[in-house]
């Protein structure tokens, strides 16, 4: 890993690649987009962020950066000084799920080290001194835990965490104390939304202490029918037991979504086929289109591909389009800052290029 912040070629490398978790190769990936675990950790010899001076924050940042992130145990890391980034680059990392909105929007010394395959990221000076996050494609929580547990141990061999025998890992917010662990599974549930069963499902999840959030976490709308299910409790239950609680409920949700899809296929096949085809048609031909409309339509198309109603598209392409059509991604791909109107036009061009590919006259001639 480099000593200097990678805002040059290695940062741009992120623009052209696609995270492993988006490849749609994991278990149940027609419905489960990703499994994510994050651990909140603090250094024992510094105040929590709220009481840190600028000097403290800089000392924490350089300590973690120099001492830990050069660890041989950790894979090839791309180091980014978040404070030095342009707004569009910070937004890009948020859209990519590599940093939180909180890290993007806060002030002072802060950074992120990103595994070059985008499987994990290490955020420094977020709400806690260190947030370790790991993402896997599909429903794969056991492997996610094995990997993140090993990363946590590797880091802990070099730093002293704030830990108390009775309360566990001590965190800035008492809602994270104990394991400091948040387990989230991101699901694509369009059929439950169409059949208006989604609220009922979520009310029952809340009763068993699970939280439901949108694509970009707390407070975000459930754009594109994506929902994150995660544990609320972090204290008094082991990591494995917290993972089991989430892992046990996901197959039930998958089953509900599959049943709702079957219902739509059997009871209103024409309506469903029409909805999916129109969505695909708009995405392939629109001249200007907003991010919200794109997410909404891509959601229908994604379900259509999974149900065999569209046969010339792959799920990884669609997963990637959900992320690459977000405002900052479009601007990075385009290579210039764009206002809303220009972004909407650029988004339409990008969609036509990636979705209409099989139908381009030159390609048709070749076939």
């Amino acid at each position: 890993m480099n000593d200097e912040s990678d805002t040059g070629p290695r940062f741009d490398q992120l623009t052209s690649q696609c995270g492993e978790w988006l490849r749609g190769s994991g278990p149940e990936s027609d419905i489960v987009i990703s499994s994510r675990i994050r651990l909140a950790r603090n250094l024992a010899d510094f105040p929590f962020i709220r009481r840190c001076t600028d000097h403290d924050r800089t000392a924490i940042e350089s300590s973690l950066h120099n001492k830990l992130l050069q660890s041989d145990d950790l894979a090839d890391l791309i180091y980014v000084d978040v404070g030095q980034l342009e707004t569009v680059d910070r937004q890009f990392l948020v859209e990519r799920q590599l940093i939180s909105r909180e890290l993007a929007d806060s002030d002072g010394a802060r950074s992120v080290a990103i595994d070059s395959r985008e499987q994990f990221s290490l955020m420094v000076n977020e709400e806690d001194h260190l947030r370790i996050q790991l993402m896997k494609s599909g429903l794969d929580l056991d492997n996610a835990w094995k990997q993140i547990n090993a990363i946590d141990d590797a880091i802990e061999s070099r730093v002293k965490y704030a830990f108390d025998k009775r309360l566990g890992y001590l965190t800035a917010c008492p809602t994270n104390v104990g394991t400091g662990m948040r387990v989230s599974v991101m699901l694509h549930l369009p059929a439950l939304v169409i059949t208006r069963q989604i609220d009922k499902v979520f009310r029952s999840l809340q009763k068993i202490s699970l939280a439901v959030r949108g694509l970009y976490g707390e407070g975000s709308q459930a754009m594109g029918d994506f929902y994150q299910i995660s544990n609320q409790i972090t204290l008094g239950r082991s990591e494995v037991s917290l993972i089991e609680q989430v892992a046990d409920v996901v197959p039930v949700l998958i089953e509900y979504e599959r049943r709702a899809r079957d219902f739509l296929v059997n009871e209103s096949h024409n309506d469903l086929h029409d909805r999916v085809s129109r969505a695909y048609g708009i995405l392939c031909t629109a001249q200007t289109i907003s991010s919200e409309e794109t997410m909404h339509l891509l959601s229908s198309v994604r379900m259509g591909v999974n149900l065999g109603l569209i046969d010339d598209l792959e799920i990884p392409t669609l997963n990637q389009l959900f992320i690459h059509t977000q405002p900052a991604h479009l601007q990075k791909i385009h290579g210039a800052n764009l206002d809303t109107a220009d972004r909407n036009a650029e988004r339409a061009i990008y969609l036509r290029r990636h979705l209409g590919k099989g139908k381009r006259p030159d390609e048709l001639e070749n076939n």
Binding site: R50, L170, P174, L235
Partner: protein
């Protein structure tokens, strides 16, 4: 103004926004407590957020005077007041869990349903935080000494800090 349910003075003025038209309620402490406890139980069985847990704690036990006294308490290590924590929802240092233990315990119980950790522990470093807390405290005292232009005291503190930092596990 009297409570709309009894003769006591109304000290709680609640605007209810869940109906189609906003409605005003003027209640004494007892009736307010009763009203709030029934509506919340009806609305949701979701586990509480930090703000919700605070609100609930206030309702079940503390009076305004008790809360005001609590708010003045501060952590001897980082200096954060309970008021600051309550307002921003973030603690100031690891020692706050001890400094505010009696206030945090019911809060933790409310949020997690438990008050004791189960699960992994650090394997390389023994969970002994004395040095860490000492460093946090000394660095704060040094900063305060500089701010009040007590440079001699500040330099003594700096030496103490360096001693402790030097005695910690060597970097590798």
């Amino acid at each position: 103004m009297k409570c709309q349910n009894c003769e006591k003075p109304a000290t709680f003025h609640i605007t209810e926004l869940t109906e189609e038209e906003p409605s005003e309620l003027h209640l004494c402490e007892d009736h307010a407590r009763e009203y709030l406890s029934t509506t919340e139980a009806f609305e949701s069985e979701a586990p509480p957020s930090l703000a919700g847990a605070f609100a609930q704690q206030l309702k079940v036990g503390q009076t305004a005077e008790e809360l005001a006294r609590l708010d003045q308490q501060s952590c001897p290590v980082c200096g954060i007041t309970f008021y600051e924590f309550r307002n921003h929802g973030r603690l100031g240092c690891p020692h706050d869990y001890i400094a505010f233990a009696s206030e945090l315990e019911p809060l933790l119980l409310n949020i997690h349903g438990e008050t004791e950790h189960e699960g992994k522990q650090p394997i390389h470093h023994a969970p002994d935080e004395a040095d860490g807390l000492e460093l946090i405290r000394l660095r704060r005292e040094m900063r305060e000494a500089i701010e009040s232009e007590e440079y001699e005291k500040a330099s003594e503190l700096r030496d103490l800090i360096r001693n402790i930092e030097g005695g910690q596990t060597p970097e590798n």
